[in-house]
């Protein structure tokens, strides 16, 4: 078991323009499932999914169900919201590992 274990639903982000809202929940044994709605689906849908998947992988998450509503967020926002959603879903609300989080910065 990795450092981050999805114990329940976690949510981060808003529906404001240039933001992204990520709701993450358990998906035992079924891998990563992302349901994405995005204003920029045609040009960036593939990249938004890839950015979320990459971030989850770094956090050691292999099974999760995500409902994502994107309002044209940049990659940095997508990464931050994903990290926050995972922390909340894992019940981690203090003693963040800032050093590790910082190492994920692109």
């Amino acid at each position: 078991m990795g450092k981050y274990e999805i114990k329940g639903q976690g949510i981060a982000g808003t529906l404001e323009s240039s933001d992204i809202q990520i709701i993450i929940d358990q998906n035992p044994g079924a891998g990563i499932e992302i349901s994405l709605k995005s204003d920029v689906e045609k040009q960036y849908g593939r990249q938004i999914r890839a950015t979320i998947e990459k971030t989850l992988k770094k956090m050691g998450i292999t099974d999760a169900k995500l409902i994502v509503v994107d309002k044209g967020a940049l990659d940095c926002t997508i990464v931050a919201r994903t990290i926050a959603a995972v922390h909340r879903a894992a019940g981690i609300t203090e003693k963040y590992d800032w050093e590790e989080i910082d190492s994920w910065n692109v």
């Binding site: 240039s18 204003d39 920029v40 045609k42 040009q43 940049l74």
Partner: protein
Amino acid sequence: MKNTVGRDIPQEYAEKYGVFEGQYAKKTSYQRASGKVTPVHPGESKLVGSIREAIEKCGLKDGMTISFHHHFREGDYVLNMVMDEIAKMGIKNLYLAPSSIANVHEPLIEHIKNGVVTGITSSGLRDKVGLAISQGIMKNPVIIRSHGGRARAIETGALHIDVAFLGVPSADEYGNANGSHGNAICGSLGYAKVDAEYADKVVLITDNLVPYPNTPISIPQNLVDYVVKVDAIGDPNGIAKGATRFTSNPKELLIAEIGSKVIVNSPYFKNGFSFQSGSGGSTLAVARFLAEEMRERGIKAGFILGGITSNMVEMLEEGLAEKIIDTQSFDRGAAESLARNENHYEISASFYANPGNKGAAVNNLDVVVLSALEVDTDFNVNVLTGSDGAIRGASGGHCDTAAGAKLSMILTPLVRGRIPTIVEKVNTVITPGEGIDVVVTEIGIAINPRRQDLIDALKDSGIPQFTIEELKEKAYKIAGTPDPIEYEDQVVALVEYRDGSIIDVVRKIKE
């Protein structure tokens, strides 16, 4: 077949219309078209009781071409009113040729589905109608024409109008009309003037019938067949919707300020210069910054062309500009000025921008300030299709003014939300890059390498200069490189350049 901006034009359209070969490639003489005239004798009345009666008297039949103007913009009642009546009468297979189509014309989708309308030409198509067309609801492609291109098509006879239904804010019973007096005033009737002159039948629709003779006369009685009085032709609030919003967005203001600096440092900023700028956002704000510079340096504009907004009227009345030449009034302030100011002069769309006539007003323009949905590294501009590939904008006077003006500027942020505006290849080319001189963004400008004189002139201006590729790289660095939009084969719109050649096509979007 590839045209000179590298766009692949399907053979059947390339053969029928010819492909774009350069902005001044065509200089073809033509015999001016003319409308049919049925004389009106003394004692005969032109006033009819209803729109239906007017349609019947005009002899409107299946397969004919009808037109409207878009001076009422989002406040227009006329197009929907007439189309509903036509649909009720069971007339089908019409070719619809308004000067443009707005959001408010959404009921057109039903008329297309029901076969009432089977062909369209327009400057543009807005959200819902544009999306429906981009989803392929009509078999025949829409022909997108610029304002000047439409006037040219009408004058050469490429677009023949059987019946023009023209909403007018004031008219007398014998057909003298103007747009600057009445309830729902729209100011200039510049687009309608062309239709009135060339259509076989001309129907005026007004909510303000005044005693004969109605002056000033924008559309004269000798061109008008019938006059109909209705309760309301438009919503005055919708006419000016969004147009004269003065931005408080700091990014837009910064772009406007840099844009103004470009003009001030260009060789054209001197007494008697002329300019045109669009409505809304940065392009509107640039006129404010420019006005300050003009006051400070004691420089007066010879004329302002447009697309006229209230702030340009203020410049006229302050004495910063000698004249306004107006083909379309964007707000009530502009419309009222047309009635009040002798030096605010109304012109037709042909006078304004027709590349085929004996010299359009855009040819006399020094500076034009334009906006864009996208600009590419060849300086080609898209103002028609959105980031989802669907038609949502309008050609307008973009390519007309860009071709005419000595200095054509595009004001745009590097990115909008996540969508880069400086890109490798635009979705749809409306204005060819050869007509664009400077692209202005919040971080600086890119000057078209064709304009070494401007690069030299702006060298010491203090404005940061980049190549257009550098601007594109910066945009992609923020947003990521966009995936190309996927289309199907079906062509849903042909984009005519102002000279009538095909500069691009729009295809059905993949769902």
